[in-house]
Amino acid sequence: MESFELKRSKDSVNSDQSAHWSSFPDEVLERVLSRLKSHRDRSSASLVCKDWYHAERWSRTNVFIGNCYSVSQEIVVRRFSRIRSVTLKGKPRFSDFNLVPENWGANIHAWLVVFAAKYPFLEELRLKRMAINDQSLEFLAVSFPNFKALSLLSCDGFSTNGLAAIATHCKNLTELDIQENDIDDIGGSWLSCFPESFTSLEVLNFANLTSDINFDALEKLVGRCKSMRVLKLNRSVSLEQLQRLLVNAPRLAELGTGSFSQELIVREYEELESALSNCKNMHTLSGLWDAKGIYLPALYPACTHLTFLNLSYAALQSLELAKLLPHRRRLKHLWVLDTVEDKGLEAVGLNCPLLEELRVFPADPFDDEIVHGVTDAGFVAVSFGCPRLHYVLYFCRQMTNAAVATIVQNCPDFTHFRLCIMNPGQPDHLTNEPMDEAFGAVVKTCTKLQRLSVSGRLTDRTFEYIGRYAKNLETLSVAFAGSSDWGMQCVLGGCPKLRKLEIRDCPFGNAALLSGLEKYESMRSLWMSACNVTMNGCRLLAREMPRLNIEVMKEDGSDDSQADKVYVYRSIAGPRRDAPRSVLTL
């Protein structure tokens, strides 16, 4: 949405030159521009001149709104008239960790009402961190006759009744993707709401739901949807039921199993293995709740072409992982639990030369006394065997500067480096020094770095490094780090491509906040919580930068002058009117 302000100034400049540019008939220009898929390319194209701006907006069918409050519904529908697909993101990312009050906002309903009027042919809606209730889902289901794809990620406020409405009314539905939501799971009868005549579903993901589903309805649904390519079941589906489903869906490209630990007799095991091996197109596998090593071999024949294996719900031990991996040399993406320990990660390094993404989640994140999990050694082992690694999310209990330096030397192409040393403010466990040099090595070596999450004991030095070297950094997450305002100032003064900055529990105050005055308009948002920012600092920022929305959320019982949680974002829609009382808009 950066193009709006710039467009106004460009109009006057380009009116003479427009004769030169418009030697293309509009239709041709629109045709050409309609090939552009990337939002950034389209934004750039729209800035060239008035004609291109119009051609772009008439040819755009897919709109991406990274912050639902940065623009109003009216502005969107006025600019784009032919939208078929909308992606909307709402709450700040820290709402995933319970840091944002529950009724903060990001409600989809007002958007749906406007879309129903202006985009009656809307086909796709993809929401992330939005609030959506059952009435909205029902409204959606009946207002858009061509509706095809619904994807809800990290949303909240709805129940399975809402899903029932979608199933009942959306005759052309191809995709129903319900991921990681805070959903009120009343029961699985929503699946039986798909009519007998309904056969178009290609993507069905209900892995997030906890209750038992109507298996009979599911089996019939899968049986008649011959184009189904993505099926992600929830934990209540047993191995035996999985086998029955697979027999009818051998063309699945992505499978999320249910619980993987039923007691099977030999014949049942063989049937499962056979059904799995018939899935010759399968490239993504997830689910595997409660998986025990003993049943994993059933997966081997199915997995010859596997590129994405998500074991983050299966508490595998290192030996079990080590036995599973030699069959999976084509793996590009691997998610595991830290129950596999360093030995398991050694096996990853030995067997997965093509690995590009690794995520290691903690099995027991809140137990301080756990001595297991992964350490620096595991990460180093992976880096030696997987030079193409560029995305990592790593939860561990100890790390060293030397290890990280080795890791980035082995894997210099990191684009996403998210390291979480789980004990806040923990130093290098060998030298007892801060982890500054580790992240210094990351930003110096990984020139393509787009996203960075830091942890451990960090002084301002880390942020000096980041500001100085992280030229492509777009997203930075900081917690329990830094020594003074100077740290945050370094980041705001450097990092030319910074778009999202989220900070919690750091000693950054008003001076740091205000040093980013010019920067915030080029960013999507800033989050600061449990820092040293005061109400006066926020008011000053609000006064200086009228085109920023400054929202302050207060904690119960905190000092009146403290700004406990601050959310700053650019917007052309002005301050929002739907904020609850706990959120102050300055």
Binding site: F94, D96, F97, N98, L99, S154, E180, N181, D182, N208, T210, R235, W289, D290, S312, Y313, A315, Q317, L337, F361, P362, A363, D364, P365, F366, D367, D368, E369, V371, F395, C420, M422, P424, S477, A479, R504
Partner: protein, 182 residues
């Protein structure tokens, strides 16, 4: 290793209390201090004071940064092995080889002693506080944390399984000496 209370160091009256219950129920369940926010984990962690661990930390909201759906979905089956079993060596005077048993599978002394009797095919006799094991040539003993050889049955079951390092069935005159006013 986890969750041990330092019985031998404190005058811990609670430890000598005779109690019924499964092994492990002696662990104190202290509430984690100031748990702020709606953390949806089903069971509180026991924050026992351990010689090496610092005092229990307050639970920090939203840290580590794990999404709630992931916290809710993953429920480790703690009933499986790994952290559960307390395996100790069991020897019997005169037997050619030792055995290993898991103390955690027994709920109390009677069960343990019965299993031991079955393993080595002998009879232990009846326990009394005053006279030890009467009516048999054998006495079950164990080596505790301090390296002393103790008669099995004197202390509460829960205390026993945490302090027992190995079991030995003593035979003959050595056995008869135990439990008599020692």
């Amino acid at each position: 290793m986890e969750g041990r209370v330092a019985y031998e160091n404190d005058l811990n009256l609670k430890a000598t209390e005779l109690r019924l219950g499964l092994p492990g129920t002696h662990e104190e369940q202290q509430a984690v201090s100031s748990r702020v926010g709606n953390n949806k984990r089903p069971n509180d962690e026991s924050d026992d004071q351990n010689e090496t661990a610092p005092p229990p930390k307050a639970q920090i909201v939203g840290w580590p940064p794990i999404r709630s759906y992931r916290k809710n979905n993953y429920q480790p089956k703690k009933t499986e092995s790994d952290g559960g079993g307390i395996y100790i060596k069991l020897s019997m005077d005169g037997a050619p080889y030792l055995r290993k048993i898991d103390l955690k599978v027994y709920s109390g002394y009677p069960e343990l002693l019965k299993a031991v009797e079955n393993m080595f095919k002998f009879n232990i006799g009846e326990y009394s506080e005053r006279e030890g094991y009467k009516g048999s040539d054998y006495a079950p003993t164990y080596e505790d944390k301090d390296g002393d050889w103790m008669l099995v049955g004197d202390v509460p079951w829960g205390m026993f399984i945490t302090s027992c390092k190995r079991l030995r069935i003593m035979k003959g005159s050595e056995a008869r000496g135990l439990g008599c006013g020692v």
